[in-house]
Amino acid sequence: MIALSRYQLSLMLRSHRWIPPAVLFILGVVLLGGTSGPAVAHGAGLAPGLSWSALMLVPATAWLTRSALTAEPAAARACVAAAGGPRRAQLAALVAALLAGVVFGVAGVVWELTRIGVLRTQGTNAIRVGATLAVVGTGIGAALICLLVGSAIGALFNPPIILPPAAAMLGTTAAVVFALAWNGSPANAAVRSAGYGTKATSWPPGLPALAAVGLLAVAWTVSALVAARRSG
């Protein structure tokens, strides 16, 4: 599995298929995110900033996943599937996209911390270590949930489950919008609880993470099973 994932990661990196989703993520975080939070004083904008970059991970990871799933010609996939098994070959592509998404997520957190800075006490300007760690922790948690949701969407709405490119791309886009806008989506709940927007979420803590893990497990399993059935 490690060799398969290494191959898929290398394929992603060398094929430059990570660049379009990276551009989307950078534009989303830098251009749109800059105006999202309130005034950037005393680090007050850190929580909204982190939650916005987490939110942008959903479309970016979904696109990364599409890139990974369409990177290989069928014949090359067949050779790899003979060596490692068709299900594991598919899972390796999903793992590679998820790992690339993690890199995006880390870049997002670093960017928000440099742009906004840590939380400080008004007047004395002392660093509020505990509060900063809590905000960053919640932001990273939201980012992880968004990663999982983005990966699940990418897996469910792309080959081998949905083959025609137009249907796959429209489906992916619609699912991403739905996952972000709908109240019942774990990504929406995670981003809200991390400080995006004004309305709090009604989800109990921990449930968005559980829902995201479940969604990912279902999506990856279906994708791997269909890959093994459809290939050939």
Partner: protein, 326 residues
């Protein structure tokens, strides 16, 4: 490897591409699938290679597998060496032995001069050489060739033929499809005809009707309806211990009737085994002297394999033995 009642279709409402295929591929066997375009040969090959999972039935005992597709498009962003490295690691080969294996496989196909050229910049033939090389990376096990000779130059075609013979000698098995009826005709192959998704054994000509003990056994079990659960499990047990069983069978065969071609060899390198080779009925080793009893049909390729085993090997004598029972 055994296929048991295997069927494949690409959707519940779609027709079966292959259906109720039961056949065994035994170690040391060469299997040729024949049939017109669109009869399900490629689908069956892909199921045998483990690339595709059957919709019905099951495949058991599939060894390490290398698969060569008919066309390997020049699309991957790797050099040949890097690509082979990735596939080698998937087979669990690492470090120095991986580098050596890559050189051996790519060199054999005549591809070392473009080892560092990206696959994207390669011609169809160059890509096909890399595709063959990646399937040869594991030394043993099953080799599945889907018109793998397409696009190869004459030398590379011969090298692939040689690699197939070597794989069979080592006790591996090879399954192939090719539209050239002369392809690998110098090797003894079990032929299966694929027609409208069903598979039937093509009986070899009268000259080969005797065959080797292995092929006779394969013919007995494959394709025929297997009756009863107990018979099934007994066969499965025999299959799992097939090497041991084959050895025992050879020993019995040599006691019963020592007929065949007797080859005597001197200068045999120590530690090299030669008892899993197709067509060999009995082996007797005394220091560097080796006496091998071979089926008459297999004597040429066994001789070739013996001579290639070491630099000091030389043939002392070859004689036809008549066991008296014939």
């Amino acid at each position: 490897m055994r296929l048991d009642q295997v069927g494949k279709r690409y959707g519940i409402r779609l027709p079966w591409v292959v259906r109720d295929v039961s056949l065994d591929v035994l170690p040391g066997k060469l299997v040729r699938l024949e049939g017109r375009n669109g009869t399900g040969k490629s689908t069956l090959l892909r199921i045998m290679a483990g690339v595709s999972v059957p919709s019905r039935g099951k495949v058991t005992g599939r060894p390490v597998t290398g698969f060569v597709p008919e066309r390997f498009p020049p699309a991957l962003p790797f050099s040949a060496r890097d690509y082979l490295g990735h596939v080698g690691r998937m087979h669990g080969v690492n470090g120095d032995s991986l580098a050596k294996r890559i050189e051996a496989c790519l060199g054999r196909m005549g591809g070392m001069e473009f080892a560092d050229v990206p696959l994207r910049n390669m011609s169809k033939g160059m890509c096909q050489k890399v595709a063959v090389a990646q399937a040869l990376l594991p030394r043993f096990g099953l080799l599945v060739l889907d018109e793998a000779w397409t696009g190869l130059d004459v030398e590379a075609k011969a090298a692939l033929d040689e690699a197939v013979a070597e794989r069979l000698d080592r006790g591996g098995s090879v399954v192939f499809v090719d539209h050239d009826p002369a392809r690998l005709s110098h090797l003894e192959a079990e032929r299966w005809r694929v027609e409208a998704g069903a598979v039937t054994r093509v009986e070899a000509g009268a000259a080969r009707a005797g065959g080797t003990p292995g092929s006779a056994r394969a013919g007995g079990t494959a394709g025929s309806a297997r009756a009863g659960g107990s018979g099934d499990s007994a066969q499965a047990g025999e299959y799992r211990g097939s090497h041991r069983a084959a050895k025992g069978a050879r020993r019995r065969a040599s006691r019963a009737a020592a007929s065949g071609v007797l080859i005597e060899i001197a200068g045999w390198p120590g530690g090299v085994r030669f008892d899993r080779v197709r067509g060999v009925s009995a082996v007797d080793q005394d220091d560097d002297r080796l006496t091998v009893l071979v089926e008459p049909e297999a004597s040429d390729h066994v001789l070739r394999g013996l001579l290639a085993a070491g630099p000091d090997v030389h043939v002392l004598g070859v004689q036809v033995q008549d066991g008296g029972e014939r």
